[in-house]
Amino acid sequence: MWILSREQNDWLSSLAGWQRIALAMLVCATTTLIATPLLAYLDLANIVMLFLLTVLLIAVSLGLKPALFAAFVSVGLFDFFFVPPRFSFEVHDGQYLVTFAVMLAVAIITGQLTAGLRRQADESDTEALRTRALYEMARDLSGALMVEQVAEITRSFLRDVLNANATILLPDGTGNLKACAGQDDARLQIEPRFALIAFERGTPVECKQLADSGFALLYLPLKSPMRIRGVIAVGPAVISADGKTAQLLEQRERLETMASLAAIAVERLHYVDVAQSTQVQVVSERLRSSILSALSHDLRTPLTALVGLADSLTVSKPPLGDVALETAVAIREQAERLAGLVGNLLDMARLHAGEVTLQKEWQPIEEVIGSSIKLLGRALAEHPVKVSLAKDFPLVEFDAVLIERVFCNLLENAAKYSPPDTTIEIDVKKRDGFVAVAVSDDGQGFVQAKGTALFKMFVRGNPESSTPGVGLGLAICSAIIEAHAGTISAANRTPGGACVTFTLPLGNPPAIEEEVLPQKMSVNRG
């Protein structure tokens, strides 16, 4: 290896066993030929050295077996041609026996050592080749953009380096493993059960029995940092002698390394997909939210002007004539209705877009009831509201602005669908860890018990009703209550009237420390 160039080395290693031995004999004979004329100038000891060198060179270039042959042959040749009496195996001087023994021993030992070194060097050479191939595969995998590419790169690595055939199996949505596309030419047969076992347990499955009939020998799970992404089935490329399967099994560690590289590539592609879809989602969310806020501004501004201008007509000086005044009032009312509708629509869009983050705080529920009644003002003028609520009712956690919206919508509905001067009742009770709020009226009730349909968008109890509305109020209530992890339901009361009940979780309200009363304050109380 160190003396011979690569090409020579390749030529030598291509020789069959007997050719090598013949070559070794030839080299020994050549040494004898070269040494014969030198005998006149050199001591026999130096001739021995020449033979030892020959054995060493043979060990290096041809391996152990030729070296051993060469060792024996060299001793024989040395005895025959150089030790007196020459051209006979007879030895007169007993000392030469020691020379032979030492020569043989040295030749065998050096031969063995160098041949061992040679083998190790060869092995590390192939090792280096395979490692480089593995590295190249890793590099290629890091550039892969599709799972099919990963499969192709893995397969070509196995084919070129380990002389093996492989198929990558990935889970489809239904819990089965499917060969990934682009591997149709694979002649490797797969036993799905083994693949599934490897996939589910995350351990390699080996099956020697079936390997000879064209089935895969090893099923390696594609274990990535997060989870198992699939299975790679490996088998020898040529179905033949048992030697091939054994060779492949020797490379098991390498195969597992290869499997984990492929797994990381598959996982990376998975997260690329996830990141891409998230980005698309983020962009569309942003677009939706900016459209919403632009809409909200562009719709509200003219509506504010419309309501204000119409209202200023109704109070203008000098006063308008009766007909004109009536018109002005009607314009204002319609504009207000439109404003309410736009508000509802925008709220609904915002709730659906998931843009609303609940500003939940612990608060007494009567506070938001009071503010909704005040907010509705004119709309509730003909309907007194009766609130029943225990005096020491616990605090409830909710978003005040949104729950106020719920109360406003429910009260507005109740006022719209019940005759003037009838009472609207709000009843607040504790019920199984929830606070249950019932808003009921004395109107005609819901046309039919539609269950949850009433809480869908644009569904009205009576679609042809002359009472204004588009069927958004209850849908918004439902969306808000759902966001609070509560429930909402509608029913008719006996003898008559509608009743909408919603619940909110009670939870554990924070403790309020009692105020320490100083004595001097008592003076102020009387």
């Binding site: 909200s296 501004h297 509200r300 501004t301 003219p302 509506l303 504010t304 002007a305 419309l306 309501v307 204000g308 201008l309 209202d311 200023s312 109704t314 109070v315 203008s316 000086k317 204002r332 504009a335 207000e336 404003a339 508000g343 925008l346 709220d347 915002r350 500003q359 705080e361 612990w362 608060q363 007494p364 009567e366 506070e367 938001v368 009831i369 009071g370 503010s371 009644i373 005040k374 907010l375 509201v385 609130v387 609520l389 005096k391 605090l395 005040a400 602005v401 106020e404 309200p509 924070p510 309020i512 105020e515 009363l517 100083p518 304050m521 102020n524 109380r525 009387g526």
Partner: protein, 234 residues
């Protein structure tokens, strides 16, 4: 109501980018007997408030050339003229920010002429009363609060208030007609370390309503500004 506009009529500055809104705000306030000046941008608004020294500023929070909150901070740097903010519903955060920056009250769009006039009147009244000595006795409904004797009576019966309840009532009355943010009230009554304990404030307001209002669930005087704070309205 047709009051004549004179040298002594209150001056109102309307800072709003929408011309039609400015127009009806102007007509309705002029009928109240105010002299009205208009500005379409916040920069122009600041210049006008310097030139005209208005008695009331009506400010739209959504101005095209900048943040209404910054306008309030700038103006508050050298003037304590009352500021009435106009803002859309569901923008409670903006309202709280505006109030904390120094605004006095807000109106939610869309609003009617009646509401606008009532708010403007209340703020102008506060402004003109600024110099007068505070009266020691306040009456609302059937409740009388005598600050000099630290005594509260309802229908001539004494009402027992705890020190915190009394202090809360004092702060609310001292800012009559003005929206007080929860943070502001907590700081005034409980101290600066308690500005996050909103539920305390709510519970004590509830106590006050129980003791002073006819129907605590539908209060007439201690009003809730949902998501923002409270207002005392005698």
């Amino acid at each position: 109501m047709a009051e004549t506009v004179s040298e002594h009529s209150p001056k109102v500055l309307v800072v709003e980018d929408e011309k039609l809104i400015r127009r009806f705000v102007r007509t309705s306030l002029e009928e109240e007997g105010c002299r009205v000046f208009e500005a379409g941008t916040s920069a122009q608004g600041l210049i006008e408030s310097g030139n005209q020294k208005p008695d009331l500023v009506i400010l739209d929070l959504g101005l095209p050339d900048g943040n209404g909150i910054d306008f309030i901070r700038d103006l508050r740097g050298w003037s304590d003229v009352p500021i009435l903010v106009l803002s859309a519903r569901s923008h409670e955060k903006d309202k709280i920010q505006a109030l904390d920056a120094g605004a006095d009250d807000y109106l939610t769009k869309p609003f009617g002429v009646g509401e606008l006039r009532a708010r403007a009147r209340a703020l102008l009244r506060r402004q003109s009363r600024g110099g007068e000595a505070a009266t020691p006795v306040i009456e609302f409904g059937d409740v009388t609060v005598d600050f000099s004797r630290r005594m509260v009576t309802r229908n001539n019966d004494p009402v027992h208030l705890t020190p915190i309840e009394y202090q809360l009532l004092c702060v609310l009355i001292a800012n009559t007609g003005k929206v007080m943010t929860q943070r502001h009230l907590l700081r005034e009554v409980w101290g600066p370390s308690s500005v996050e304990s909103n539920h305390y404030l709510r519970v004590y307001v509830g106590h006050l309503r129980q003791k002073l209002e006819d129907d605590p669930t539908q209060p007439k005087y201690i009003l809730t500004e949902t998501g923002v704070g409270y207002r005392f309205q005698p």
